[in-house]
Amino acid sequence: MDLRQIDANTWEIPASAGMRVPAVIYASARLMGDMRRDKTLAQARNVACLPGIERRSFVMPDAHQGYGFPIGGVAAFDPADQGIISPGGVGYDINCGVRLLRTDYTEADVAAKSRELLAAIFEEVPAGVGKGGVTKLSRAVLRDILGRGAEWAVENGYGRKEDLERTEERGRMADAAPEEISDRALERGIPQLGTLGAGNHFLEIQKVEEIRDPAAARVFGIDVPGQVLVMVHCGSRGLGHQVATDYIETMERAFGSAGLPDRELVAAPFTSAEGQRYYRAMCAAVNYAFANRQMIAHWVRDVFAQVLGSAKGIDQVYDVCHNVAKIEEHEVGGWSKRLVVHRKGATRSFGPGRPEIPAAYRATGQPVLIPGSMGTASYVLAGTKEAEALSFGSTAHGAGRLMSRHEASRRFRGEQIRDDLARRGIVLKSTSMKGVAEEAAEAYKDVDEVVRVSTEVGLGRVVAKLVPLGVMKG
């Protein structure tokens, strides 16, 4: 493969053999070494072959091999030029994302109670495979949720109106069409609303370790080192997974997959009936995930109130999607175009001035939430103007996996990880110790390196570094 290094953190695969545009990879030599060991680069090249792609097929610093598109891939397509939308470019876990809550508490306030706090959250927030939620939903109510997302949750007593202001899309994608969701997806969605799930999904009680940009940190409500925060990482559960599965089949039936290097790259022109139906169904799944995180955040506040006496000052910093396709305006070759931007394992990183971001953040750029692997740091970045030119306003979404789950579960023991974390003062609770082993920090890339590259390239600006006090895993 013709891979050219442009500068310390930028690489390019020139367009060849069916590629309509080059692929651009943002990685240090070390991260590139990881990517070359799996199929990340070949997958980035495949994305560059899809109709209507604009500028480049972009790869974020935490990228690794996925299915179809790489995880950590960003690509935008022009609907006016036969541009496509692809379920494999969004991922199965539609609107997998991250929510961050700030509190007025400090490490000293929770130190004696972190075990109790985490145990109470573990009781309150259902987690694990096949574990149902606490709500019994009718299909009619579920359809309402699919149409209105976090707005529905707030109206029904889960959280506050201000939370919506500080959620991507204000917690609701207006193009959602619940009628495009199959019965089977609804069936999977009914028992799972308000659940964390399992795998890499987690809920962490964190503290601010370091503030790097005091002015932006203040705007985000992150005031002092030692301040306690809560981070939630989960998505649209089985409902979203089924939507992706359904529309991969629908698009394949309509458009075939014969010419594609990977059947998972199946796509439809955005303006086609199938493209529109998937887009609207995807928006509905996005809304489900927003409602899901909204409910979980509400329960977190309840637990803080029970255990520490008050939920005062527990405000939402932001809620970001990292598996999504959205219609956004971007400048291409001097023209402003409306493009279908796919972010699969990538976080939007819009800089100052973009109308999409909350008014409160319009001068700083949006908060970008990058969770680390279990027991390691997480970061809050601010979006940048440069990112719009570099990656359609996108950056990394986490540490990115390095080692297979199978290998991790052979090498590590969940109990050992739990004890090691305990020695560092971090409490861990999980439904499965084998599941914990699969998520060992060593199975992931170094999040510090991912964030360093992200910052050096200009995809984001570090505002604060967070470290865990307590970890809950499904």
Binding site: Q65, V129, H201, T245, M403
Partner: protein, 143 residues
């Protein structure tokens, strides 16, 4: 003969499954999938689930059949322990699959350690051998 083997894949679950016939390889693929989430060998055949799927080709048939295992755990809390019967037949332009699955209901004290989100077409391979040659399938799932 070995039923299946888990293969390395950075993010997701990848496995190959074997069988004397295509049906047997599909049945073993179901056990391989279950092994990514729970220990199927410890699941007693207490309840049965009937599964029927249709596919335009063998690949789609396998993806949809394995999707049933994920669907059943999420909506019926069903943990697969055994594939009792599995038949593949021509169906209109494509194929149909009927299977009888046996297992237990979640909450019976079994550890669920993995979460398979979906079955993908990525690197999906099906090699159907003639009589005496054996069949092999390869699957990547999103976890």
């Amino acid at each position: 003969m070995e039923k299946y083997r888990i293969l390395p894949h950075t993010a997701d679950g990848k496995f190959e499954a074997f069988g004397g016939t295509l049906e047997e390889a599909f049945a073993n693929a179901a056990l391989a999938l279950a092994s990514l989430m729970w220990d199927w060998s410890r699941i007693a055949p207490k309840v049965e689930q009937l599964v029927r799927v249709e596919g335009s080709d063998k690949e789609q048939l396998l993806v949809k059949f394995l999707g049933e295992i994920v669907y059943l755990v999420e909506t019926r809390q069903f943990l697969l322990g055994q594939v009792r019967k599995l038949e593949i037949r021509p169906h209109f332009e494509g194929l149909s699959l009927d299977a009888v699955l046996a297992g237990e209901t979640l909450g019976s004290g079994h550890e669920i350690y993995g979460d398979v989100k979906a079955v993908t077409y990525h690197e999906l391979a099906i090699e159907e051998g003639g009589p005496g040659e054996g069949s092999r399938v390869q699957v990547v799932v999103d976890m």
